[in-house]
Assembly symmetry: C2
Homo-oligomer: 473 residues x 2
């Protein structure tokens, strides 16, 4: 737990200054540790901070930054100075990252970035404004500047933006012995790697060799005899989500990233891909409930901004549904029981519709649902809707009939439930499918459409049948 040199700091693999004592049972940071850190920040006790904070793993330091008070964050970073591992910023919310980076001198950022893996460096640089970015890049050695700029030139959320530009590449005619000797002598190798790429003199990618293959082969074996094809190399322009799917499908640990001419420009590693998978799952999860790009560190105004658009759209559709009820005001005035029961029909339809919709949106996101099995799933959902309609129509019809001592009312609500459960099932599957087919993100807008369908169908069928049955209009 003592202070740590630069060499240790930017490596996840060699020595981890892991202090198991900083986490409590439930996975959150221990309160007494946070208290000590808070006190040390208040007292400007850099000795304590160097001893107990500087040596933390980047992700532990990230957890710490997220747990302390916002006003303590910048203070902690400034107190640690060069002992603050900037890689921790890749582990925190964007809001916190930007707040801290803003308070650091560009010199310190440039120095830290020079020591980082290129993918971490890009992660921090990409959020900065153009001016700061240029100022920091200008302070870096030529090779690193060129490498980082190449990554930054690729569009956001592409493999090129997420790749690491440090890799090991050898020509195909080298022997295993030559390759091992090269690795023993070269000091400029990446921090850690799991495969060696094989390239021609123009950097065109020819193949790859996993390290275990190198270790199993005799020294005299030529590299091209043990290399495998790289059918799973990733074009730099490929969307990160698509690249993540390749990793998942073929259980890759890392993949070569190539430019439009098939030249090796970097390597995408599984740890970045895990982050992408997490982000994408989170995005769908939040969007389905009408929450935009939101982070836990967001302020009231930022959080409200991410949620108000959907609430606004819903308030419009709520008025549309209300106007359907308005068509039957005379009916309601005579039979108030209808007003009491109608939210049940609409609400149950909404719940059933959202179940089907959630299953559909998730299946679309994981590519489990496509044109080949869509007809089968649509038939299944219609079957589930029918079954739900019969079961809950009967149950709710019975309870409502007993409650109001009116078998007619029970029969009417049962029929309306059956209709609305069928509508819910079809809306729940067809709306996301149609949105996907039209190129829209089904996670974003399915919910509005589905609840509008189930509200309108629920109110219209229940009140409409009642008006017709009791002959009130």
């Amino acid at each position: 737990m003592s202070s740590t040199g630069d060499d240790d700091r930017d490596s996840d693999e060699i020595v981890i200054h892991h202090d198991p004592d900083i986490y409590a049972e439930d996975g959150s940071l221990r309160s007494d540790f946070l208290m000590h850190v808070g006190a040390a920040i208040a007292d400007r006790d850099t000795i304590y901070l160097r001893q107990h904070v500087a040596g933390l793993h980047a992700s532990e330091l990230g957890d710490l930054l997220e747990a302390i008070q916002p006003e303590q964050r910048v203070a902690l970073v400034l107190l640690l100075g060069k002992d603050f591992d900037l890689a921790a910023l890749t582990e925190v919310d964007e809001g916190i990252r930007l707040d801290i980076v803003e308070h650091l001198p560009n010199e310190q950022i440039a120095e830290a970035i020079g020591e980082m893996d290129s993918d971490d460096a890009v992660y921090i640089l990409e959020d900065l404004d153009q001016e700061d970015q240029e100022e920091i890049l200008a302070k870096l050695p030529f090779t690193e500047r060129v490498r980082l700029r190449r990554s930054l030139d690729y569009p956001e959320s592409t493999a090129g933006r997420r790749m690491q530009t440090e890799f090991v590449a050898v020509p195909p005619f080298w022997t295993v012995g030559q390759t091992i000797d090269y690795m023993r002598e070269d000091d400029d190798l990446p921090e850690s790697f799991t495969q060696i790429f094989v390239i021609d003199p123009t950097f065109k990618l020819l193949g790859a060799v996993d390290l275990d293959r190198v270790l199993r082969a005799k020294r005299s074996v030529k590299i091209d005899a043990i290399m495998r094809d790289t059918s799973h190399s990733v074009p730099a322009e490929m969307d990160q989500e698509e690249a993540a799917q390749l990793f998942e499908q073929y259980d890759l640990l890392s993949a070569a990233v190539v430019d439009e001419n098939g030249r090796l420009v970097g390597v995408l590693t599984i740890d970045d891909v895990v982050d992408v998978i997490q982000e994408e799952a989170e995005e769908d999860f939040l969007r389905l409930s009408g929450v935009g790009d939101e982070e836990l560190s967001d302020s009231v105004a930022e959080a409200a901004r991410s949620r108000i658009p959907w609430l606004f759209v819903n308030s419009i559709t709520a008025f549309v549904s209300a106007s359907v009820i308005g068509l039957f005001d005379a009916t309601i005035q005579q039979i108030v029981a209808l007003a009491i029961l109608m939210p049940i029909v609409a609400g149950m339809g909404g719940n059933a519709g959202s179940q089907t919709m959630t299953v559909t949106v998730r299946a679309l996101a994981t590519r489990g649902l496509d044109i080949h099995n869509a007809p089968r799933i649509i038939r299944r959902e219609a079957g589930v809707g029918l079954l739900n309609g019969v079961i809950f129509g009967a149950f709710i019809g019975l309870v409502a009939g007993l409650w109001f001592q009116d078998p007619d009312l029970g029969g009417i609500i049962a029929t309306a439930m059956l209709i609305n459960m069928m509508a819910a099932a079809l809306a729940g599957i067809l709306i996301p499918l149609l949105l996907e087919k039209s190129g829209a993100d089904p996670a974003v807008s399915s919910a509005v459409f589905v609840t509008t369908v189930t509200d309108i169908t629920g109110f219209f069928s229940f009140l409409g049948i009642a008006a017709w049955w009791f002959r009130i209009a």
Copy 2:
């Protein structure tokens, strides 16, 4: 694309018989490929199937099994016979897996399992009933039987169940040269590996060396000089979700799995962890909408079974909310506009509450929300609720007042909206937090409680204020 030997088949790493032509643009299997396969199955054309299907990667074969008709699946597997790569069964829904395994003779399963990585083998064995499991295990060589039984003895969803029992381990006093020579000569190494473990004679774990470290070190260097500590080894009894969080936090590629005495029993690899992360995210996603453990291949009855419990609970709470409306039947009879507008108040509250709840449940699942920042987030959500209440209270009050030409009504609905938006915000964050604290899964039951709160608050505040204001009771 020609036929493939056993040695190639169970490896993801060496030669991938990848046929890029089988996928269409949108990532689904190409229709003409499916048509050809379907025709070949119908014609029992084993030559076509061996040529075009047997060589597919396990995950491609899995996609194919999911895309063809249920009755074609078993036929395809039986036609391919020993050329069918059983590892494909780890890539399909449990329902499809069980259906296929049931139709295969235990001899064929045993033979295939003998060739698989142990983690894949356990994945298939664990779903079988005790009798079949024993029969298959009995047909395996002693060592493999012991290894698989050891994995199967660990509870479901633990690291011990998901681990691979094949690994490379060496004593600490070996040199790098000895280690490389050992790997060059031993034919019984795992298919692929990224680190070497260091153990004492009793198999107690002492450390680990990543392969790139081995390659960089001189032959004379002792292993214990380059090994790192294994503070991130995983106890075999650890829940897979907890293990996945370790992988994420420390960007691990693989981790040693140890028994209660610290002895090395297996290795957990990142590809299994990616599956766990996916599963857990999916589970929360589905549960929040009241869908249980459900698969796309489920029948109508199975899907209905996973969804009816939640719909049933909701139908009960819907009656409770309806009875709140029932308290105000006299008020509604005199002012029908109340019946028309009341679903807007309840519905908007439900939407806002579900936004907050979704953010909270997700933050709890990813451990972003804990006791240290909970007070801050609760204050934020209360702020968002107040802001939403003011904005949508004003907007909906204005529209409703104009619609019914009644400023009083506008004022009443605005006030009710403000109250319900605040209730929604507090319910949306406090209910998941309390459920988590009491040890329940917040994803499962938060939604029922939150909508019940917003429905009751919405109806009671709107109708109650109206009854008091217009003095009707």
